[in-house]
């Protein structure tokens, strides 16, 4: 691993304790609103994304569809300010409690990506839109 990638020895050390093997180099990261406790989204981090998250204080994921690092809020400005990071017993998942900047984390215009609830066997939208995604993302969404 090139030394230039190790911006922080401290972050490197703790990332070494995580088990990235079970998901082909990734761990699941649950994003929870620090104040309300609402679960906002689930993303995935590789070792570099985890280090960036720790070092910058902004949640950074690995985009499986684009196959590259993804600073959440890069386009929208709706960044996730990290308040607390926990890992689980198997050290293969993260719980990241955040202060979410902006009206919502979901690119479809909702506060939380989990806006569809199972009701009588059907997924039903269960939350109001909090912003107009077209105004933020334009053609990019």
């Amino acid at each position: 691993m090139p030394a230039k990638r190790l911006n922080s020895r401290r972050a490197f050390l703790c990332s070494m304790d995580l088990d990235f093997k079970k998901l082909d180099g990734l761990v699941a990261a649950v994003i929870q609103d620090y104040a309300s406790g609402r679960v906002l989204m689930v993303g995935f981090m590789n070792e570099e994304a985890f280090r960036k998250t720790v070092e910058t204080g902004y949640a950074t994921f690995f985009s499986r569809s684009r196959n590259k690092l993804w600073l959440k809020g890069e386009t929208s400005g709706h960044r996730l300010v990290v308040k607390e990071i926990s890992t689980d017993c198997d050290r293969d998942a993260l719980l990241i409690r955040v202060e979410a900047q902006g009206p919502g984390v979901c690119h479809e215009g909702y506060e939380s990506c989990f806006f569809r609830r199972l009701e009588n066997g059907q997924w039903q939208v269960s939350a109001p839109r909090t912003y107009d995604p077209a105004a933020i993302y334009g053609d990019k969404q």
Copy 2:
């Protein structure tokens, strides 16, 4: 798919809407305490585990290490009673709010599997044990 596996046409229909392709047949399932909002664990479900969860009302996962369905609480009795199921914008993750039976969901004796917090670059235990895992699991843990 054998007809006998389809105990509920309704559950089958909604599972068809989930995207199991991105994780080799699995979706991530975040388990959150319905009353406190605490995130208790992250598991993975294949289509059958999801159907079982919906049909029985008890969270059932697919164990990647044992390569089979895993009714949470089968050994310990600490089952997760499903109160609400949501999915995210990409339909590739689940948020399941539960009433957790027993003193904790973690096989290491904690209420939540997320009992280690990142503090000054080190994972530190941040919660008290709520039960003695040896008394529940014996040699099985």
